[in-house]
Each structure stands twice: as C-alpha cells, then as structure tokens.
Amino acid sequence: MKRRSLLRRAGALPLSGKIGLALVGFWILAAILGPLVAPYPPGAFVSEEVFAGSTSQFWFGSDFLGRDVLSRLLVGARLTMGLSAIAVAIAVALGTGLALTAAVGPRWLDELLSRAMDTLISIPSKIFALVLVAAFGSSVLLLTLIVAITYVPGNFRIARSLAVGLARLDYVEVARARGEGRIHIALVEMLPNMIRPLCADIGLRFVFIVLLLSGLSFLGLGLQPPEADLGALVRENVSGLAEGALAIMAPAVAIASLTVGVNLLIDAATQGNVK
C-alpha cells in the first residue's frame, strides 16, 4: 500500500521534481555502492602526473597528489551524504522539537529555550565550529555533532516563529478549548501545518551543511585525511582551478548537482498534496 502510493506520488511529480529525484537517487546510489565500484583505493598514488585530464585508466583524471579523482569522489560522496543527512536530521529533530515545546509549553520554558538558542546562534557558526574543532578534534562523529548543533538554533527560530503564529490561529484555539493535550496540539494540529515551510528550510539546511563542511575544510578544519568529503576535495584541489583541472570540476559539479537535486525534490514534493 504505502510503497505503491509512494511510487504513484513519484510519478505525479512535476518534471523538476523528477529531475531532483533522479539526482538525489543517483547520489544515494553512489553513496551506497560507490566505494564498492571505485576503481582504485582512494588514497593510492596511482598516477605519475598531477591534475591529469581524463584517460581510459582514470576517467576523471588525477588529483593534486596523483590519486584517482573518480575513486575519491565516490568515497567522498558517501561521507558528504551520510554526514549531512545525519546532521540535518539531528538539527531539525532537535530544533523543531524544542520549538514545539516552546510554543505549547509554559511561558518560562519558552523564554529559557529562546535565550539558550540566542546564545548559541549569536556566535557565528564557522567560528563556533572552529572553536569546537580546536577543543575537541574533528573525527567524523564529532564533526557531525558540531555541524548539527551549529544548525539547531536556526531551525529552532524558524520553527518557533511558525508555531507561535499557528498557536494563535482559531483552529488551534478551538482544539485547546476542546481540551486537547499539549502534545496532541503540537503534533497533530501544529506540526502538519508547519511542514511545508519547514521543508524549504530543511532542504536549504542540508545544502548549508554540505557547504559548511566545505567552508570548514577551507579553514583547515574538515575531516581527517585521507578521508575527504566533497567540499574537502574541492578545497584540496583548488590550485588546479586556473587550469580547469577535472580534479576540482568533478567534485564541484557533484556538490552542485546534489544540492540542487535535494531542493528540487523537496520543492516538488511539498508543492501540492500536503494538507
């Protein structure tokens, strides 16, 4: 039942949504299978030439150290997808959850949460991440948490503002008058009406996390070598930019297609049929 309706919904998507779905699907596949089909180990020095062009041996050429770009791209895609998806899930779950709590909870709780979030959000995110990485290091797990925490307050603010707006609407007041519990009001009456604007936010937040990761590697704070997410691949090969090396073009195109795909899909999926 559920699967069929999902399929039908995919078929009913507008063209942009189908493109988005295809892109996202491609990258999910790449993330799952990529490391298995990668022609070389991602760290191996396989080419004598650095920033080589495309050959039958190295489809996407070689990087600044003579490693295979395609293999590194496939492994990088898994890290970027996994890390960003988990981080965005944590950020949105925490942010929206706290926002709903604040909206339906007692006044003091709202104040407390809002101040705490203000405290976090007012420290610029990249600098905040920089301090945390300097203090705690940058393993995959820590980086995921740091990135997630960085984006909780942003999501909280938007979700809270939506929820507070909704809380004053007539039908919520009616529900309150009916004697519905706070949890019921938050999850049944409010959350569904927040989903559409929140999805736009989630899509962009996913993009921002992918980009924050690359920003962190620009500042030298990304994943530990030899692991590299897509942003780190762009960063480490940036000296090939002027000569238009494939080693930088390939991960840049990968980031662009991934972020555009995610947003197209979310846009299309939230267009019509949410209540």
Binding site: L120, L130, G154, I158, S161, L204, S214, V234
Partner: protein, 326 residues
C-alpha cells in the same frame, strides 16, 4: 478616545522592547560564560602562542605572569566582567593595545560590508521571492527557483575564487583584494567592495528569497485570500496589503538571521579578499588565545544579533494584528 487604538498598537511592542533589553543582558552574560568555558578547553594559552616554537619554559612563565594568566580562571573572568560592566573590554593580551582600539579599527569595516551586502540582497530577495510566489508553478517561478538554487550550490570559497579569477585576473576590471584606501573616491569604493558584496549576496539572497516565497505561498493558501479575491480585491493590493503583513513573521525572522550572517559569517570572504573585518579578528583571537579580544568580538556579534531579532519581532508584531495583543 481616538488615541486609544494607537496606544494599543504600540503597547505590545514597547513592552517587548523593554523586556528584551533586559533579556539581552542575560543572553550576553550567557554568551560570555559559554565563550569563557569552551575557550578554557582549547589547547595552549596566549603566552605559548605568542612565544611560539622557540618558547622556553621560563619565558612562558614570565609572559604568563605579565598577562595575568597565572591567576585562576574564575578570577580572570570576574575581573573581565568587572571591566565590561563599566564599559571597558580590557587590554588585548597579544597586541598590547586596548581591545576597544582594535575593535574600533575593524567594526566600521564590518558594518560597511554588511550594510552594503544587505542593501543589495534584501530588495533582490524580496523581488525574487514575491515574483516567484505570485507566479507559483509557472515558468518564471521555475526559472527563479533554479537561479536561487544554483546560487547556493557551490561553496562560498569556490565562488569567490572563480569571481577573482574572472574579474580580477582575466578581465582586470576589479581588484582581487578589498583594500580600501584612506579617503576613497566613489569609484575606488565601488570597485573595492564590488566582489565581496557580490559573493556575500549570492549566499544570502537564495535563502531569503526562498523563505519569502514559502511564507507568501503559505498565506496565499489561506481562505481569506480566496474571499478577498472573490470580493474583487486587486492583485497587488492583495499581496502588499493583506498577504505580506501576515507573512511578515517568518520573513523578518529569516531576514534577521541572514543579516546576522552577513555580520559575523563573512569569514571566508574576509579571508579571500584580505578584508580586515571582525570575523577574521575573532578567528585571530581564537588562534592567539586572546581572551579579552575574543569576548569582545562575541559580545558584538551577540548584541548585533539580538538587536536584529528584536527589530524583526517588533516589525512582526506591528505588521500582524493577531500577534499585537500578546
């Protein structure tokens, strides 16, 4: 009697402003505590950073003493707090200068860059957001959607580097670094700021435009819009008099976030264009473990953020009658 509605219109916001100012001090205090706590976890201290690779233990000890770093943490924090309460952010540990002097040198730069970027990106975002909401589902909407998406599709440092390669190195139109002369002519000013503003705008417009679009569309789906249309209310009147005021809450909130990003998040733009702003100063303060300077930067970013949010909330209340009683 005629004064009463006007009074009630302002009573909510006024109460809010007074309350918020009180809370702002609480938040600033919390921020300073957070900064103090996590920076205590950082490896090394200002004395070691200043002396670097060639440090000998006795030099480190002497410098620590001179900087007051041999005092326990809480004592140092209390001393700093005492100073800040009377408006003195203290002496930079590393630069041997009052923190206020260092900030005074950089703050105008950051304000200028943020203001210029906001001036370009906010109207642009509104234009794009409203246009695509009104044209929802049609070609224009889709084209604008692709445009905003592609704006945030690439890492900021890559966008900036490509811009420099094209406009500074290849075409020689614009300088590659944002060096502002002492008394710039208008042309020098525009040329120097063109690329940093462009790169910042690219990052901010997309998010803002999409929030504007989403918020307006959410309103357009409400029953009262249909009713107004049935009553024959004109399209632009509908958008600007009815829909926008109601959608303003999430929009101004998103705006406050974007603007505070312009203020404190310009680190990559500052780095690539060698622009002496506050974000790179704060990174500098972190890496040199210069506590008073770090705290001062954090206080400024926090205050700017709180101010923006306060303005956003005030505007939201003023614009939306439903929130006004609260």
């Amino acid at each position: 009697m005629s004064g009463a509605p006007a009074m009630s219109r302002w009573r909510g916001p006024l109460r809010l402003i007074v309350k918020r100012i009180g809370l702002a001090f609480l938040t600033l205090f919390l921020v300073s505590l957070v900064i103090f706590t996590i920076s205590g976890l950082l490896p090394g201290d200002a004395a070691q950073e200043v002396l670097g690779q060639s440090a000998t233990p006795e030099q480190v000890a002497a410098l620590r003493h001179e900087m007051g770093l041999d005092q326990p943490g809480p004592v140092r924090y209390a001393r700093w707090l005492q100073g800040i309460l009377v408006g003195d952010p203290g002496q930079s540990l590393v630069a041997n200068k009052p923190v206020a002097d260092i900030i005074a040198e950089r703050l105008p730069n950051t304000l200028t860059l943020a203001a210029l970027a906001a001036l370009v990106s906010v109207p642009l975002a509104f234009l794009i957001g409203i246009a695509s909401a009104v044209a929802r589902g049609r070609k224009l909407d889709r084209a604008l959607n692709i445009l905003t998406l592609s704006m945030v599709a690439l890492p900021e440092f890559l966008v900036a580097t490509i811009a420099v390669l094209v406009f500074a190195v290849k075409l020689l139109w614009l300088p590659s670094i944002a060096l502002i002369p002492k008394d710039p002519t208008l042309a020098e000013f525009v040329r120097a700021y063109a690329m940093p503003v462009m790169v910042l705008t690219v990052g901010v417009v997309a998010q803002l435009a999409r929030m504007v679009r989403a918020a307006i569309i959410a309103e357009l789906d409400r029953p009262y819009v249909e009713m107004a249309q049935l009553k024959g209310v004109g399209r632009s009147r509908l958008i600007f008099r009815h829909v926008l005021p109601n959608a303003v809450g999430p929009i101004v909130n998103a705006m406050a976030l974007s603007l505070s990003y312009l203020f404190g998040g310009a680190i990559i733009v500052e780095t690539i264009f060698s622009y002496p702003g506050l974000a790179s100063l704060m990174v500098n303060a972190v890496t040199s473990r210069d506590m008073p300077l770090l705290q001062a930067c954090a206080m400024i970013f926090c205050a700017a953020y709180l101010l923006l949010v306060l303005i956003a909330d005030t505007v939201a209340i003023l614009a939306n009658p439903r929130l006004r009683q609260g």
